[in-house]
Each structure stands twice: as structure tokens, then as C-alpha cells.
């Protein structure tokens, strides 16, 4: 391999950090698989409350899909070395992340106003599950936002110039993953009810 990777004709190997991310995503999938299968088990037992998802989750779905688009455009802009557009796009992506989180929280407030209790005495596991699962998804989203902020700071740093698109590519893969994870959860909650 010493000589071979120097050879440009050689098929390009995956970057170890990117590969690590893929394995980590498999790991995160297992966590949500565990939670959603626990949900199925619990649902088939007595005393499982039924309620509709808040409408606002559709808006948050639209926002997260949009943010996937912007992060992808950011990667394209970086590769084209259009740094101005790149900076704008990652800023927009991070903001969309915050909007998504805010919409999710509003959704839970909405449910709570309709008498659904998530925690404490009198709460039903159906509602608690929704809170835990969607909450954990938001935590993973928050992780993506933090990494994006680091990329953001680095993009505005003037001392060092970075020509490797690897960091932003890794961020975008993770961002899409969190997006797809949300779609899975949404479909799961709608379909299972």
C-alpha cells in the first residue's frame, strides 16, 4: 500500500474517520432499534394510551429535509471553493437545526396542552416513550449542530486555510443520517398507531 495509494489510478479508499462515522451510525441505529422495539412490546400490552402526533411535526420534518439540502449544497460550495456561499450555507443549516428543535419542543407543548402527560404520576408509557425517543433524537441533532458550529468557526478562521473537504463531508453524512433517522421515527410512530 505504501506505493499504491500514491498512485492516482488506484481506487480511493474510504477515509478512516468517515468509516468510523458509518460504524457509529450503525451503533446509533441499534439504540433506536432497541427503543422502538421496546415500544412495540409495550404497545401490545394493556393500558397503552392512544393519541395523535402533533401537526407541527410535519413542519419540523420539512425543516429538517431543507437543512439536509443546505448542508449538501454547502459541501458542493466548499468543493467549488466558493467560500462565501459555503459559509452562508452552513450558517443556514445550523439555524435550521435550531428551528427544528424549537418546532419539536412546540409540538410537545401542544400535546401537553391537550392533556397528554409525559412524566410523573399519572403519565402513560406511550407518551413517555414519545418524549424519550424524540428527545434522544434531538440530542443527536444537537451533536450535529455542535460539530457544525466547530466547522463554522474553522471556516471563519483566517490564520489557517483548509483545503480538505473531509470534515464537512463527514458532517454532512451525519446530518443526513439524523434526518433519515427522524423520517424513520416519524413513519414508525404513524404506522404503528
Amino acid at each position: 500500500m505504501m506505493a499504491t495509494t500514491m498512485n492516482p489510478n488506484e481506487p480511493k479508499r474510504i477515509h478512516p474517520h468517515k468509516f468510523t462515522l458509518w460504524v457509529a451510525m450503525g451503533s446509533i441505529c441499534m439504540m433506536f432499534a432497541g427503543l422502538t422495539s421496546a415500544y412495540i412490546v409495550k404497545k401490545n400490552q394493556a393500558n397503552f394510551q392512544e393519541f395523535d402526533l402533533p401537526k407541527i411535526f410535519w413542519y419540523s420534518t420539512f425543516v429538517i429535509l431543507l437543512s439536509s439540502l443546505t448542508v449538501q449544497l454547502a459541501v458542493a460550495a466548499f468543493k467549488a471553493r466558493e467560500m462565501g456561499r459555503y459559509k452562508k450555507l452552513i450558517t443556514v443549516t445550523a439555524l435550521l437545526g435550531f428551528v427544528f428543535a424549537a418546532l419539536q419542543v412546540t409540538g410537545f407543548k401542544d400535546l401537553s396542552n391537550h392533556g397528554i402527560q409525559f412524566l410523573g404520576a399519572g403519565s402513560n408509557a406511550a407518551a413517555s416513550f414519545l418524549l424519550v425517543i424524540v428527545g434522544l433524537h434531538m440530542l443527536h441533532m444537537a451533536g450535529g449542530v455542535i460539530v457544525l458550529l466547530i466547522t463554522f468557526v474553522r471556516a471563519f478562521a483566517t490564520k489557517t486555510r483548509n483545503y480538505s473537504s473531509m470534515p464537512i463531508e463527514i458532517v454532512s453524512v451525519y446530518w443526513h443520517f439524523v434526518d433519515v433517522l427522524w423520517l424513520y421515527l416519524l413513519v414508525f410512530f404513524i404506522w404503528i398507531r
Binding site: 500500500m1 468510523t20 432497541g34 408509557a125
Partner: protein, 604 residues
């Protein structure tokens, strides 16, 4: 150099000369070399020594509760002086102290010693050295992995010193004992600390596991195809895959548990009536749900513990029998089969929870299927030994001991995997005997074999052989003397986790036998201290290693200098031309992996 090339970009001209910059010694402070080290070899030693500290604590705990089981009527006033009133009032281990001891012993040995101490040590040490890499895919994440483990250790250790004692509801942490603070003293602060420690531990395992997988798949040197990897690496690979896929499920189980404990949800808790508290407000929770989530990790965890030992034993048996490993591909195939089956058998821990008997029969079938790959491995080890030119080094003794224990413990697994027999045997000493032999002691033997075998590579010195043989024989004989009689106790129906058997008419007759077991346990524990003395004495005063390849071994770690620096090889990483098991071929004792295949060489 390819890995650096991939990591730092191929095109730059700097990398064309990249091979040389590892010879420069970058400045290292004490902190960066020994404390927050990013060198996989140093991190391995950190895992090993932290694991040893836990092994002493966990082992000492077993000595203490064996003292109670062996001498239930006797008072040891010095125990109260030593441990205080909470643990040993009037010289007796108290009931709450006893349950705290067995719980912490289990948690610590399973997770902190045999997961972090075993696979943390050897995955870190061997993966880069045996695949031919400078370090892990992400040395920084690797460092984090150790420090998360360290933080978990501190939290777990502190739980021993809180006023209400550490968690005492069994290492499996079933609710309601784990979910209700009012259920027992140990369910209060002790359980909170237990959960925090375990959450940190899961993060540590995941960070480690991700790195191991990425390193094995992406960072192999030139010529090191997957089928040229030593079996140690294959075993560590499957271990990491199991951990990465099963620990998150445990974490989700813990998260739900935390909500039940602290936020009043009803995932696991139902309307239970607690003495002195009254009926709980919770409704409709299912304690069985936790068991499913727990054992979905819990069973793969058994193989997370055992597979690294299997891998190292395969390597050590082959090197010291001076013969190629028998059935290399079958060994990989059986590792793969075990890894798959590990995820499909968790409910055999739950046969008596009211599980549907039809479902139970499927889990019986899948459980008994594990006997097939296990048997393949055993026969391959035996045929590797067959007519070998065996060198009985201490490492080899422990490796052979592993095979013996794996057979003895594995056979009782066939009994326990049967759901009908399990009605009688579950939660008895038969189960204790089974898993201690097959997973506990066997994996410890794998670990000892690994330590004796790779010690020269770790420290550039040898362990003392005589002490090694004493360590081996007493531990080997002791292990059988401790756990063999427990099978009889279990068959007679003696339940596990009881505080005092002498007050039960049915188990009174085992008091003498229990005393015998306790005596042997103390002797075996003392011999482990001897091993530790040997270990630490030899780091500084052991016989020096003078040749690069003291065992005449084929694998890459022995082509590195006796004291490899950070980066492992000065100059280029060696290229690999053959598998790792060319022993006794074409009239030569061994042919290292780095040697090119000759024109007139026979095929293996």
C-alpha cells in the same frame, strides 16, 4: 505510509518523504507520555493496570462473601475494624453488605475487568501492531475511551463509600430493585452512581469499539489481506462488532430506567405496593421489558468477554505448538457464527419469566446451535496441539488451561440451554458454576495467557517463569475445586444469592462443602497477588528481552523494535506476504509474515 497518506491527503509532496518523520522523537512530557497518552501501547497498559486494580477489588469482594458462606456462624472482629459497621457488624458480614458485595463483584468483574481489562488491553495493544499500523484510526478517540473508563471507575468506586452502600440488587440490575429508591438501601444513591458509572462505561466501550473496527478494516499494511490476519485480530474484530451493536441497546434500557427512577414514568414500574411507602402511582409498567433490553446486550456481552480470549489462545497455541493453526478458515467461520448467534439467544436467560413455551423452544434451538461453532473451535485447538512440538511456556499452559475450562464449562451450557431443565436449574449454584468456568475463569486464563505471552513486547522484559508455573497450577486446580462442587449444590437445588444456607434444612448438609470452597477461593486469590507481584517486579527488574522475536513467532509485532516508539516501526511499515501460521513448513521452524513466498515453496 498509506494510512498517513489517506489521513492527511495524498497529493502533498510532504508525504512522499513521510516515512522518515517518525524517526524524529517529538517532545513528550510526563503527562503526554504516561497520562493523557495517545499511543495505543500506553493506553493498553493503562487499561491493563486499571483492570488489575478492579480485579483485586472484585476478587477481594468474593473472598469476603465466601467468608460469610463458609463461616456463617463465626465472628471476625477484625472485619468490623477494617470495613466498619455497615459492612460487618460484630464481625459478621451483614446481609445488606453481602448483597452489595455480590452485586459489585459481578458488575466489576464482567464489565470493568473482563471487558475493559481484557479486550481494552489487547485490542489496543495488538490491533495496530499485528495489522501493521502506526496507531489506531483515531488515537484521540482511543485516549477518550480510556478516560471514560477511568471516570466510570471513579464513580463506581465512590459508590462503595456512600452511606447507603453500593447497589445491591444483582449485577443485572432488574427493576423494581433498580428502579425504586425505596426498595432497599442499595437502591438509593448507590444505584444512581451505578447507572452513571455504567453509562460512562458504555461510552468508553463504544469509542473503543468504533476505533478497533475502523483500524482493522482500514489501516492494514500492504499485503495484509483479511485472510492473512492472525486469529487474535479476527476475534477482536468480532468482539468490537458485538459491542458496537449491543451496548447501545443496553444504554436505551438504562435511559428508560433513569426516567422511571427520577421522572416518575412507568416503563418498568407497575402499581407495586412498597412496605412503609404505600402503593406506587405508576401504572402498567413491565419489568420483563428491562430484562429483554438488558439481555439483548447481556448475552453478546458473554462473547465480548470470551472471544478475545479465544483469539489469543488460538495464536498462542499455534506459536507454542510450532504448528499452523488447524482450520484457519473454520476458526473465522465459527467466530462469525458465534457473533451472529450471540444476538439470537438472549431469551434463554428468561425461560422462567413466563415466556411463551413455544418461543422458548426456538431459543432452545438457537442456544444449542452455539455448540456447533464452539465444538469446531475446541476440535481445532486440540488438533493444533496434536503431535505438536509443544513448548510449555506459562502462556501456553494458560492457553491449554483455557481449552480445558472451555470444554468443562461449555458442556454444562448444553444443560442450561434446555428450557425444561432450566425450570430446575435456573438461579441455582449450577448456573454460578457454569458461567464462572466458561466465561469467568476461562476468559481470565485467556487474559493471563495474553499477558505472559506479550509481556516481553509490552515491557521489554520477561515475567518470572517459576512464579508463572506456580500461578498456573494453583489457579487451574483451584478453579476446578471451587466450581466443580457447585454443580452438585446446584443440582440439589441450592439457590444463588442467599445470605446464609445453614438455616435451611435442605441445604444444611452443604455447610462443610461451602467452607471447603471458601478455603480454596482464598488460596486462589492469594496466588493472584503473587502474579501481581511478579508483574510489577518484572516491569523494572525482570530478565531483559535481548532478541526481537523471543518466541519465534510469525506475526508483525515481533518485527518492531524491542522497545517500539510511538509509531511502532522506525522507517517503513513492513509488508506482508503470507498468512500468520507458517510454522514447521518446508523444514523451517517458522517463516515470518514479512518474508516473500519463495518460488519453490509448497502450498499450505
Amino acid at each position: 505510509m498509506s494510512n498517513e497518506a489517506v489521513l492527511h491527503g495524498v497529493a502533498s509532496s510532504h508525504d512522499a518523504h513521510g516515512d522518515h518523520h517518525h524517526e524524529h522523537h517529538h517532545h513528550e512530557t510526563f503527562i503526554s507520555k504516561y497520562v493523557f497518552s495517545m499511543d495505543h501501547k500506553m493506553i493498553a497498559k493503562q487499561f491493563l493496570i486499571t483492570g488489575m486494580v478492579w480485579a483485586v477489588i472484585g476478587g477481594l469482594m468474593s473472598v469476603l462473601f465466601r467468608l460469610q458462606l463458609g463461616y456463617p456462624d463465626q465472628s471476625f472482629p477484625w472485619l468490623e475494624d477494617l470495613l466498619g459497621k455497615w459492612w460487618a457488624e460484630k464481625g459478621h458480614i451483614t446481609a445488606q453488605g453481602y448483597y452489595a458485595l455480590v452485586t459489585t463483584h459481578g458488575t466489576v468483574l464482567v464489565f470493568f475487568v473482563l471487558t475493559a481489562g481484557l479486550s481494552g488491553t489487547f485490542a489496543n495493544f495488538l490491533i495496530p501492531l499485528q495489522v501493521g499500523a502506526r496507531d489506531m484510526a483515531s488515537p484521540f478517540m482511543n485516549m477518550l475511551s480510556y478516560w471514560f473508563f477511568f471516570a466510570a471507575s471513579i464513580v463506581m468506586l465512590s459508590s462503595i463509600f456512600v452511606e447507603t452502600g453500593p447497589f445491591s440488587g444483582g449485577w443485572t440490575a432488574y427493576p423494581p430493585l433498580s428502579a425504586l429508591g425505596d426498595a432497599s438501601p442499595g437502591s438509593k444513591t448507590g444505584m444512581d452512581l451505578w447507572l452513571v458509572a455504567m453509562a460512562l462505561f458504555v461510552v468508553s466501550s463504544l469509542l473503543g469499539g468504533l476505533n478497533y473496527i475502523a483500524t482493522i478494516l482500514n489501516m492494514r499494511t500492504k499485503g495484509m489481506s483479511m485472510t492473512r490476519l492472525p486469529l487474535t485480530i479476527w476475534a477482536l474484530f468480532f468482539t468490537a462488532v458485538l459491542g458496537v451493536l449491543s451496548f447501545p441497546v443496553l444504554l436505551s434500557g438504562f435511559i428508560l430506567l433513569i426516567f422511571d427512577r427520577n421522572f416518575g414514568t412507568s416503563f418498568y414500574l407497575s402499581d407495586i405496593f412498597v412496605n412503609g411507602v404505600g402503593a406506587l402511582p405508576n401504572e402498567g409498567g413491565s419489568a420483563i421489558l428491562f430484562q429483554h433490553l438488558f439481555w439483548f446486550l447481556g448475552h453478546p456481552e458473554v462473547y465480548i468477554i470470551l472471544l478475545p480470549a479465544m483469539g489469543m489462545v488460538s495464536e498462542i497455541l499455534s506459536v507454542n505448538a510450532r504448528k499452523p493453526i488447524f482450520g484457519y478458515m473454520a476458526m473465522i467461520g465459527s467466530l462469525f457464527a458465534i457473533a451472529i448467534l450471540a444476538f439470537l439467544v438472549w431469551a434463554h436467560h428468561m425461560f422462567v419469566t413466563g415466556l411463551n413455551p413455544f418461543l422458548g423452544s426456538i431459543f432452545v434451538l438457537l442456544t444449542l446451535l452455539i455448540a456447533v461453532p464452539s465444538a469446531i473451535k475446541v476440535f481445532n485447538w486440540l488438533t493444533t496441539l496434536w503431535r505438536g512440538n509443544i513448548r510449555f511456556t506459562p502462556a501456553m499452559m494458560f492457553a491449554i488451561g483455557f481449552v480445558s475450562l472451555f470444554i468443562s464449562g461449555g458442556l454444562t451450557g448444553i444443560w442450561l440451554g434446555n428450557s425444561a431443565l432450566d425450570i430446575h436449574l435456573h438461579d441455582t449454584y449450577f448456573v454460578i458454576a457454569h458461567f464462572h468456568i466458561v466465561m469467568g475463569v476461562a476468559s481470565m486464563f485467556g487474559m493471563f495467557a495474553g499477558v505472559y505471552h506479550w509481556y516481553p513486547k509490552m515491557y521489554g522484559r520477561y515475567l518470572n517463569n517459576t512464579l508463572g508455573y506456580i500461578h498456573f497450577w494453583i489457579t487451574m486446580i483451584g478453579a476446578y475445586l471451587i466450581f466443580w462442587p457447585m454443580h452438585y449444590e446446584g443440582l440439589a437445588g441450592m439457590p444463588r444469592r442467599y445470605y446464609d444456607y445453614s438455616i435451611w434444612e435442605s441445604f444444611k448438609n452443604f455447610v462443610e462443602l461451602n467452607r471447603f470452597i471458601s478455603t480454596v477461593a482464598m488460596i486462589v486469590f492469594a496466588v493472584q497477588i503473587l502474579f501481581l507481584l511478579n508483574f510489577f517486579y518484572s516491569i523494572w527488574k525482570g530478565r531483559k528481552v535481548t532478541s526481537q522475536n523471543p518466541w519465534g513467532s510469525n506475526t508483525l509485532e515481533w518485527t518492531a523494535p524491542i522497545h517500539p516508539g510511538h509509531g511502532n516501526w522506525p522507517g517503513e511499515i513492513p509488508e506482508v506476504h503470507r498468512w500468520a501460521y507458517d510454522y514447521g513448513k518446508d523444514g523451517r521452524e517458522f517463516i515470518p509474515q514479512t518474508e516473500a513466498v519463495g518460488a519453490d515453496e509448497s502450498h499450505h
